[in-house]
Assembly symmetry: D2
Homo-oligomer: 271 residues x 4
């Protein structure tokens, strides 16, 4: 089979990966959470520092995934960071500065729910930053990440990809769901209206900022449960820790897979 | 019935409040979480600031309760703070300083998983602070809290009370539960060994720092589900927000009730 | 001599204290700076924490005095804090919060060039805060300071008092002095126009916030050199350190003296 | 004249540049301070951000130079940062993190009295960091600085170079000078004992971290007054501002000059 065919298959099957039954999902999640606890114990023991970035459109499932990951972890060594919009002072400072203060110190696991990549996404599309600031970001971010890596931080980047119909469905559900009210944001309506701009921004971001040292992992997230399970598996498979259950943590490449530039032309990302 | 008898009844029934069925628990929690979402919308709208302090012995259920409260809230306006042990610099600074930076700004709900009351509990019992520092804390903390109140912060303080057998059971379970491994702390063994010192420290703390403006709410926490449900109800009943479901939020006073000095002599707290 | 007469004399002579010759001023300042170095060595050795607050109208001489104090001190253990106007986030936080982060840790000497008393002065007069915020400040600040004192911080408060003609002269000179350009502020014109409001605000501040534990020291500052010398002497005389030159550090009470409520009615403060 | 001869001349004359008379020094300094005030007004007006790094051996004159620069500047927009040794938490974080929080925001002029280059100097020589950390720093710092530049920060780096006899003289004088007591540090004795290691560390630092975008300016600092005057001139000549006195600000290249690798082999730096 030629490579191209293989990809095609991924894409098609990717959308046809069968749903998990409630039992399998819950059973697997439980086991993965045990692995996460082992991971945390390991990182505390060896003074490791881990930073995980979650990106994706509105309603892609970032919150829910992060909640499953942190559910049974020690609150003292785990931090979830979801920064609001920059203050005036932030705006006049070095762009990365407001994130830098939350980088993990020894023993810490930090999860960024959205991140500096806001500049390549919402800030760019919604014109919250200038074109110059955008360009400057695109040419600096990889270097910046490499510095963090060299300093010993383990950095993983996940892009949760959802299709337009799925996004629409979720944004509508939110409006009805009394528990998801707070997620309804002034920016939501733009998510759909500016779908194509967001698509283009995503493509440019992935192409420019994907690299061998801080690669993007694409997670097909139309199915929340598959997305969560496979994202966690990918995470565990890329981090060392004692007593790892090697068979459990193999992610399904049809759901979570390292980005390749050809994904774009081949339509493997939602558009 | 004389007042004393009434209390006696509370105590006795308090221990005999029937367990909730899984359905009732989950149904009620779901409805309370909707109320919490309304509360958050209200506090964002009116630029309110809320701080909730959770205290209690090891394994009293602070983590679990906080998780239920925050489960469906906006991560950007909700912060859970569980500080580690003070650094050298912290130790040489004003005691409240390291907490002050996490106080809620407008629109924020902050939950302290343990708090400045560490000084009256673990730091006092384990001799992590001097007797002078302890005394100084006891004579300052109420004043300090009143200043926060006057500045417009809404401050609620919960003490989750568990009995010795229940603590013992939970600490043992933790050791076996693969998901609770991280909770096993070097300080746990002292929790039981120093049970009586902790009891005395708790009594002194409650008596000295309970007051009309920042009262302590005692939550009988041997039954986790009853504790969570009633703590949240108490919380909701003490904070204003639009469209409040008044009948839902009445806490059972046998589970969550304002501290009174007589509770101690009457044996209404675990000892 | 009756007490009143004694005060009267202070006031009158206070305005007639003869100027220092350049030689005496420089010689004395030099010796006082040596004492300051001894003080700093002592505070580093004993892990002391010192906070000094400088208040006074525009052009009262706060900057110049602070510069003389810090001139030969270790930059690493000395911090001068001159905060700009509060950010939006500051405004929605506990008022003292933005100052708290700069409180001295062990071994540190911190000098506040203006301080939380802005709320009683410029913020009140220029209506930068509400009447409620003003009231709340006036009723909290002493308590707050006492907490700092009890926590071991040494806190000294100086009010540099200048007369209207002197202020006018200095503000005019500034405009001409190429080195003082930056001091020319949008608020300056109000300093003179609102002289009486500032006078009243000062009186209320002094009366409400003077107390035995954190007293205000009034420094008559129409003569800059006398003001600097005597403020430093007062400072040194109130802080313990080894090898103190006791004769050198006696301040002239006609220049630097502890506030008394009667000063106001007796016209001992500029008005 | 061949280039080499020209350099030779610089070096030799550099050591023979005649001292300034007190009058000329004070007159020039006064005029330069007026220029600095203009510069500050300009940077406030245009929301500029300026960072100046001062490096050099113990007693090279960093403190004194910084004091002359800041003497008449607005304390609110000028910050001098002299960090103490890293805390435990700092040590386990990204190396640049503790400096990042002090980077200039709009309108700010920040002066670093010692800087991240500690890692290439004292930390390397005194073995306060590992060889890996040193290597990582050397390969990251230029990239890091370039990011700051691209983000719009103006960054100037000065290395104040003094000869061994001069350093010895100054360190001895300090011990006697009652006003310089605090400068006497446990590390001083090593400054001379490890003179050669420091020389080598300096050479490696200059060679590896000098570049066109964030060049090192070498200031021959055996004569303090010449060093201060010419460093300030160099600073002013490299920053744009209105109404600049072009003739005043030309630095003497024999005192302040851009680093070139050949300086080392030609013995133009103290060794
Ligand atoms: N040396 C210390 N000094 C002060 N506080 C400490 C010290 N060691 C632990 N603590 C505090 O004691 C509390 C209880 O610790 P632990 O039982 O390990 O955690 P928890 O019950 O919160 O999971 C924590 O808030 C911790 O910060
Ligand atoms: N809008 C504002 N709200 C609160 N404080 C302010 C505001 N504007 C200025 N201030 C404060 O007023 C004080 C006096 O300002 P100004 O006269 O410009 O400075 P200086 O300290 O040099 O006299 C400063 O501490 C400044 O922070
Ligand atoms: N253990 C250490 N680890 C890292 N840096 C240190 C350590 N001890 C001192 N330093 C740094 O070495 C530098 C030189 O110290 P010192 O000679 O005492 O001060 P000065 O800046 O007055 O010359 C300072 O920046 C200090 O922070
Ligand atoms: N004006 C703004 N400038 C920069 N970022 C913003 C701005 N408004 C919203 N954002 C960011 O956009 C992201 C999405 O916002 P929301 O859809 O409201 O959750 C968040 O990370 C916000 O911080």
């Amino acid at each position: 089979m030629r490579k191209k065919d293989h990809k095609k298959e991924i894409r098609e099957t990717g959308r046809r990966v069968p749903q998990l039954s409630k039992e399998v999902y819950e059973g697997t999640l439980y086991k993965l959470q045990i692995e996460l606890v082992k991971l945390q114990r390991h990182l505390i023991k060896f003074d490791d520092r881990i930073l995980i970035i979650f990106e994706g459109r509105d309603a892609a499932g970032k919150d829910g995934t992060i909640k499953r990951i942190t559910q049974h972890l020690s609150p003292r060594e785990t931090r979830v960071i979801a920064l609001g919009k920059p203050s005036d002072r932030d705006r006049s400072s070095w762009y990365f500065q407001r994130y830098v203060q939350y980088l993990p110190a020894a023993q810490e696991l930090v999860l960024f729910n959205r991140s500096w990549y806001n500049r390549a996404g919402v800030e760019h599309v919604m014109r919250f930053c200038t074109a110059d600031e955008y360009d400057e970001f695109m040419s600096s971010v990889v270097e910046f990440e490499h510095m963090l890596i060299r300093s010993g931080i383990k950095l993983l980047k996940y892009y949760l990809d959802i299709s337009k119909p799925e996004q629409e469905k979720r944004l509508n559900e939110r409006k009805k769901d009394p528990l998801a009210q707070w997620k309804v944001s002034a920016l939501d309506e733009h998510a759909l209206k500016k779908w194509d701009e967001y698509t283009l921004a995503r493509d440019k971001m992935l192409v420019h900022t994907h690299n061998l040292i801080t690669p993007w992992i694409i997670v097909h997230a139309d199915d929340k449960q598959l997305a969560r399970i496979n994202l966690i598996k990918n995470m565990l498979s890329r981090l060392e820790y004692d007593d790892r259950d090697e068979r459990l943590i193999l992610p399904d490449p049809r759901i979570a897979t390292t980005f390749e530039a050809s994904f774009i032309e081949e339509g493997l990302l939602a558009s």
